[in-house]
Symmetry: C2
Subunit: 208 residues, 2 copies
Amino acid sequence: MATDTRTRILDASAALLARQGYNATGVKQIVTEAKAPFGSVYHHFPGGKQEIGAAAVVISGKLYEQLIPAVFDNTPDLPTGVRWFFNGAAQHLVETDFADACPIATVALETASTSEQMREACAAVFNSWIAAGSEMQQTRGGLSPESARRLTIAMIAALEGAFVLARAQRSVEPLEVAGELVAEAAEREQSLGQRAVSRAPASDETSG
Amino acid sequence: MATDTRTRILDASAALLARQGYNATGVKQIVTEAKAPFGSVYHHFPGGKQEIGAAAVVISGKLYEQLIPAVFDNTPDLPTGVRWFFNGAAQHLVETDFADACPIATVALETASTSEQMREACAAVFNSWIAAGSEMQQTRGGLSPESARRLTIAMIAALEGAFVLARAQRSVEPLEVAGELVAEAAEREQSLGQRAVSRAPASDETSG
DNA sequence: GTCTATACTTTGATAGAC
DNA sequence: GTCTATCAAAGTATAGAC
């Protein structure tokens, strides 16, 4: 059984938005790529381009989120995982001739001030990444919820910004530098966290 | 004397590209905003939209670059300057309702794989920022050229990525977290650099 | 539900009068 | 060098046959 029309439209949209951004991707291009009749778009997505875009962003976000456990579940420690993460991103960037970086960053910047529906979809994706990364860093790094959240946000921000520089300069240097910055921060946080854990099993809620 | 047509076109383009990105900004919108006749665009910029965009990006880049000395020339030390820099960016973001972040990041992502002319213009701007930041950090922080370059790239990357998250989430939290990460890295680098300086006035060219 | 044809707008760009 | 008129193509969205 082949995938249905709706799924093909979303998959094609996710791929096009990731590579071209929101404004450069036309509905006509989407249906051509999805091998779908034009009218089907507005049958499955009455909200038009914005509704397609928002749904496609969420799909890309869920796929990309799987990279977090895929990388960090096999790492000996947190800083090593961070280095793997940035190295893997750099390698993928080179393999795709600096085309495939973050699937939603371009869309997020384009639509942040022009489409509330798209902005909220992108924000939801970033929040899910932060939640997934924070939980991973608490489990694998022994970090407190607050430290894990902060380190995760810093990691995502450093990665996103390094992507911007790397694609413009066609160089992985920004990814190497940003990755090392975050990895060293992870080293300090992890040693602090593990020390805290070995001293006091639960520093919070001692009075509750 | 009022500004001439060419200058008005470039100023209007720089403002529109910063807020809307490249693909959302039309040539017709530019001439309307610049109060210029439509045909003038192709008289002054035979290369069309790409030539206007490339020139406007360079102008925005030079303006934004002035923020580096404006902030760091008055700071007591490097880490404080880093915190001022991120705090100022956060404040400006809130004041503009999360519209004005980096004037070229959106354009850079949009055009990195579709217009070599635009990509090179953005890359040139980023390189000029890295050069200016590196020189500042060598002068004010006592960092080696290599350390200064790496810390500057990390600072710009962290700022750019924090902008992406902040605009999508309409929150300055990413700027606070990313800024603190870079500031703490600057603290370590500066103490290392100044120690090296006080031990050996000129570690390089000792044999020349 | 599927698919075609089309309406209407806007795009980047050009020609040519002045 | 200024400005208007216009082009061909692409944009999103809709109507309506099947």
